[in-house]
């Protein structure tokens, strides 16, 4: 592994970039491997950090290693083993690790041979199940998965969720403490637990995608959508018999295929029927549809597969007018049976409007309004507004849009609602000479 002495040693910047790249691609998996080794999440992360610091010190002198991931793993294990040996109270851990002392002349080479992508993927998968264990509350699951499996720092996570950095930091620290104190196991759950635990993992990944979905271009350094797809791909690949894992991946790929048309040049959210379908990622759609087709043949339908099927109908429609809304309503009926929730009912109502007209949809929406569960959900009021506007009740529509505006802080969504209000305003007010002041 010695570098070519004829080449110039890398600059600090090159080293930093290379390290950042490796961490981005392999950071979660390396953490997982270290958790498996040390049986301790915090020690795993600390040693990896130490290894990174060591890399920044030594790579400028010794050159970039051929396998940076293996280098980091070996270095992290060594520094951790030292810690463990020195700390007398960790006597039990030291016993189990003692046999790991390697006498190989070049442990890095040996490790590289054993460090296959599958092994790393499995460790990352174990890590995700760890972060999504039901002993942690949902907010903690989300923050911990982002920090540990996706490598986001506290500030990035805080920005994504419009939270304070301190809140996220405390949440993550508490979660890690709970994992250690309560003995949350680091493993892929056994068969009798896999179904319910996988459901949580898939839900967390879905949430990650949704948080990234609405991020405006300005908010970017963190591509949550990419992270979610990366995790979903990993889970679907390693758990190839699990239909819902594949269903989630197909769903995300289909929704993500529209990323180029989701925002207009002003950063405003563009509704589905207004999007330029020629700019949808047809390759990705093709792959997603094929995946969905194969998955449905497993005959183990679940909510994510149904949602993917709904998105498939949109993807297959050449124009908005070609959309088979009746099929979509039927699929929402299936989804309602599997996963009854106010939000599903709302989305079904929107589909009903498209298939059967605004009057039919209004009936459904009024029932939902009476139940009250969606009062605080801005998209419910947007749906009501759209219905009222379609029925000619502009005042009612404006009222509902204004209500929706009060309920969301997301800039892209707000801009979309504000534009609808402006359009309604333009229609209502006859053209007047503009005032000189504003």
């Amino acid at each position: 592994m010695t570098p070519d002495p004829r080449s110039a040693p890398p600059t600090q910047e090159v080293v930093r970039d290379h390290l950042a790249q490796v961490l981005k691609e392999k950071g979660g998996a390396l953490t997982g491997a270290l958790v498996r080794h040390f049986r301790d999440l915090e020690l795993a992360q600390d040693t990896l950090q130490q290894a990174c610091r060591r890399a920044l010190e030594t790579w400028p002198r010794a050159g970039l290693p051929d396998r940076a991931d293996a280098w980091l793993l070996v270095t992290a294990k060594r520094s951790g083993t030292d810690v463990v040996r020195r700390a007398a109270v960790w006597s039990r851990k030291a016993e189990t690790l003692g046999h790991e002392r390697s006498s190989d002349p070049d442990p890095e080479t040996v490790l590289v041979q054993r460090l296959d992508q599958e092994g790393l993927d499995d460790d990352l998968l174990r890590l995700i199940f760890l972060c999504c264990h039901p002993a942690l509350n949902p907010e903690a699951q989300l923050a911990l998965t982002l920090q540990t499996a996706c490598g986001l720092d506290t500030e990035e996570i805080a920005r994504c969720f419009l939270s304070k950095k301190k809140t996220i930091a405390q949440r993550v620290v508490r979660a890690k403490r709970k994992i250690r104190a309560a003995g949350v196991p680091f493993r892929i759950p056994p068969p009798h637990l896999l179904g319910e635990r996988l459901q949580v993992v898939l839900t967390v990944i879905y949430l990650i995608y949704n948080e990234g979905f609405l991020a405006t271009r300005e908010a970017e350094r963190t591509d949550l959508a990419r992270e979610a797809i990366r995790l979903a791909t990993l889970v679907a690949r390693r758990l190839s018999g699990e239909a819902e894992a594949a269903g989630l991946l197909a769903l995300l790929l289909l929704v993500d295929s529209r990323r180029a048309t989701r925002f207009d040049d002003d950063g405003v959210l563009v509704e589905l029927h207004r999007q330029d379908r020629s700019r949808w990622d047809r390759d990705q759609i093709g792959r997603a549809l094929e995946l969905l087709r194969r998955t449905l043949m497993l005959r183990r339908v679940g909510p994510f597969q149904v949602q993917a099927s709904i998105q498939a109908i949109h993807a297959e429609a050449d124009t908005a007018a070609d959309t088979d809304w009746h099929q979509i309503v039927a699929l929402y009926d299936v989804l309602r049976a599997l996963q009854p929730s106010p939000v599903v009912m709302l989305n079904r109502a929107v589909a009903v409007r498209m298939a059967h007209g605004p009057q039919a949809a209004t009936t459904v929406l009024d029932r939902l309004a009476a139940a009250g569960a969606l009062d605080g959900y801005h998209l419910f009021h947007v749906a009501q507004a759209d219905c009222r506007a379609a029925l000619g009740d502009t005042d009612g529509a404006v009222q509902a849009w204004r209500r929706a505006l009060k309920l969301t802080g997301n800039p892209a969504e707000r801009a979309a609602i504000e534009r609808r209000l402006r359009e309604a305003d333009d229609k209502a007010v006859p053209a007047q000479p503009s005032k000189t002041s504003s």
Partner: protein, 118 residues
């Protein structure tokens, strides 16, 4: 890892059971204890007498205060506990789910402090 499994239940529910139902429930508890002993995970466990038999003691400013009743008036009260030594939290959860009290009340799982680890 060692855990306390604290069984919280609404006594009113148990009191409303018929004699047969109560007997069946005790049988289940007995079977649970046996199973845990068999699995070598049983460290201990007891059933507590009803909340009406409770006395709560506190010492403030050197004075001992003795009060009739449980530490707090809650709908569900501590009715019993087990101390188990199992591999990890999942195993503790699985055991807790087999405790009859989990069906009518709730079982809190708390890891024990291992003073050897400090």
């Amino acid at each position: 890892m060692k855990y306390a499994l604290l069984i919280y239940a609404d006594e009113a529910i148990e009191n409303a059971m018929s004699e047969e139902e109560q007997a069946a429930m005790y049988q289940e508890y007995f079977a649970f204890s046996e199973a845990e002993r068999e699995a070598k995970s049983m460290l201990g466990g007891e059933a507590l007498q009803p909340v009406a038999t409770a006395t709560t003691v506190s010492v403030r400013d050197g004075k001992t205060l003795t009060v009739d009743g449980p530490f707090a008036e809650t709908k569900e009260q501590l009715g019993g506990f087990y101390l188990l030594d199992v591999a990890n939290l999942d195993d503790a959860i699985e055991a807790a789910a087999r405790i009859p009290g989990a069906r009518t009340g709730r079982v809190e799982i708390r890891p024990l402090i291992d003073f050897d680890d400090m």
